[in-house]
Symmetry: C2
Subunit: 340 residues, 2 copies
């Protein structure tokens, strides 16, 4: 029994029309900035709008226009993203600024619990957004399926899950970034450089390894690559230990992520080696780990704002009717700190 206390009933285009002594059509034309409104009418309408305090009802407009000028920004796993990952904020702002230029509203939708999933799916299905930007989609995600089924224009930040074959997406150039940070490590004079490679079941994992290999060229040595399953601290530590057993003489390490690098540094220290004097270490991601290690980590930073802006551009382009799925690959920056 929502005994909703008297919320003031809003003025409609009709009220403005009577007040101004013109018709609804004319008011509508004025509001939407069309031609064919006489100076006299314009003046009367402006006065009337101010008097009755008219504000167009967006729900009604959406209904008849069949579009909303709004784009959903869907965030999964919000805890890890919002609390731990410094990138998400910048991605968000990059996307917002691009959408803003195109006069589109961005609505951030958070998918946390099971309930959220259903509700966001309803929200999207309901036609309150013209398109979506999806960050960190999961394989077989219900949201992704809804988006597919509705044929809602979408752009992914990161690789879209398998099913979404026809989707646009923007990713970082893992190969290029790995190549270039390994190159920097070479320039510091390191001769025997190893890699703790992680997550070789994912594109990001194999791409980073590929970039490492490219940078080394002839000097690449298969035995200096130690694969570990996860992008984690403990995996990095254990992998580094094994790598040191095999190649005690190495003087440089490229770790597939900052967490892996932090673990590697731990293993190097426990073996009595100094970083960076004996062994130079570089990581990937510029996550919170990178600042916590001693010395601080040299690493690869994602162009986060750029990712957001590009994703926005892709979804806007789809809204304009361009149906060819696009794939954008962005270059990364390198942040050089004390670890190499």
């Amino acid at each position: 029994m929502t005994s909703r206390t008297t919320r003031p009933k809003r003025a409609t285009v009709h009220d403005v029309a009577v007040e101004a002594g013109v018709s609804r059509g004319t008011v509508s034309r004025y509001v939407n900035g069309e031609r064919y409104v006489s100076a006299a009418a314009r003046e009367a309408i402006e006065l009337a709008i101010a008097k009755v305090g008219y504000v167009p009802n967006t729900a009604a407009r959406n209904l008849v226009m069949q579009r909303t000028q709004a784009v959903g920004f869907i965030v999964h796993e919000p805890h890890s993203l919002f609390v731990e990952d410094p990138n998400i904020g910048e991605i968000l702002l990059g996307a917002n600024s691009r959408l803003s230029e195109a006069d589109h509203q961005m609505a951030v939708l958070i998918v946390d619990t099971e309930r959220d999933t259903e509700r966001v799916a309803r929200y999207l299905s309901g036609g309150l957004v013209d398109g979506v930007i999806i960050v960190s989609a999961r394989v077989d995600d219900p949201i992704t399926r809804v988006v597919e089924r509705l044929q809602l224009p979408a752009a992914y930040v990161g690789h879209p899950p398998g099913a979404a074959g026809s989707a646009s997406f923007v990713v970082i150039d893992n190969v290029g970034a790995a190549r270039s940070i390994t190159g920097r490590l070479l320039e510091t004079g390191r001769r025997r450089i190893g890699m703790v490679a992680a997550a070789l079941d994912r594109d990001s994992g194999t791409d980073r390894l590929a970039g490492f290999r490219e940078a080394l060229g002839d000097r690449f040595d298969e035995t200096l690559v130690e694969p570990v399953p996860l992008y984690s601290y403990s995996a990095g530590r254990d992998g580094m230990r094994r790598l040191l057993d095999r190649a005690p003489d190495l003087d440089g390490v490229f770790a597939a992520s900052d967490a892996v690098a932090a673990g590697a540094i731990e293993a190097l220290k426990e073996s009595g080696r100094r970083v960076p004097d004996d062994v130079g270490v570089v990581g990937f991601d510029d996550s919170a780990w990178a600042q916590r290690t001693t010395p601080a980590l040299s690493t690869v930073r994602q162009p986060a704002a750029g990712l957001g802006a590009e994703a926005a551009r892709l979804v806007l382009s789809r809204l304009r009717g361009d149906d060819t799925p696009a794939e954008v690959r962005l270059d990364c920056d390198i942040v050089w700190r004390g670890s190499a």
Copy 2:
């Protein structure tokens, strides 16, 4: 000329009705889970919905129902909040989880540029949300004015700006938190404790000073309070220098914020004092500063998720028709690290 390529036209309640051989009304009743739908009708409708792929149109429902089951979460100054402040993410999630329980959708709206301001104001005016949660409102903010004018149910995280007299809000208990962290400092055996007080033109500033005073009781010494204008590193450093000139014998400091504390530690070190051996230091906020100082800062942590959840609760209560503005004050946690 948006040559929008054929987006499949969506099935309506009418299509379902025809397919199932019942009337629109019956379908509507089924969809909204009302009574008075026969088993036969239910079955036919379920089949028909699956067949034509019906999804209710939210815009149409919003229009006729005059409410949206959605709440806007408005974020100003997104750069400082999303990129630097670790709290905003948790506030967001706390609010989302509470709204989710009440089956409300949360739409995060980012206000960055001038354009954003207008667009978000339009969005709110358009009636796409039933209420709003506002973080870090600015005095004389256009958004706040729009909210006021529309009499949109609102809850603020932090003190609402002057104009919004009738608004609900949730704040942290600055007095209590300052009292309790000063108390902890006393328990470590410090005898002469000073404070670098900041921003005494704001409630947060005077409240933290008041809590400090309460904790010390009889031992409170006016001359050990050094006021500085801003919550900043340089203000903290300069203030600490002056405080040390006046009271070279002090052995404990409560800084009004982590940035101030970081500056104070710098000043203590340059004067040759050791932290925490000679002087114990505590801060406030548990911001990024707290982790960067050496030693890491003992400080006050905001119950960020709680702030969000309470703000959500307040706005939901207003949506249920409760018109009395509420004011909630939450207790803080203390994070004890090496600096004291």
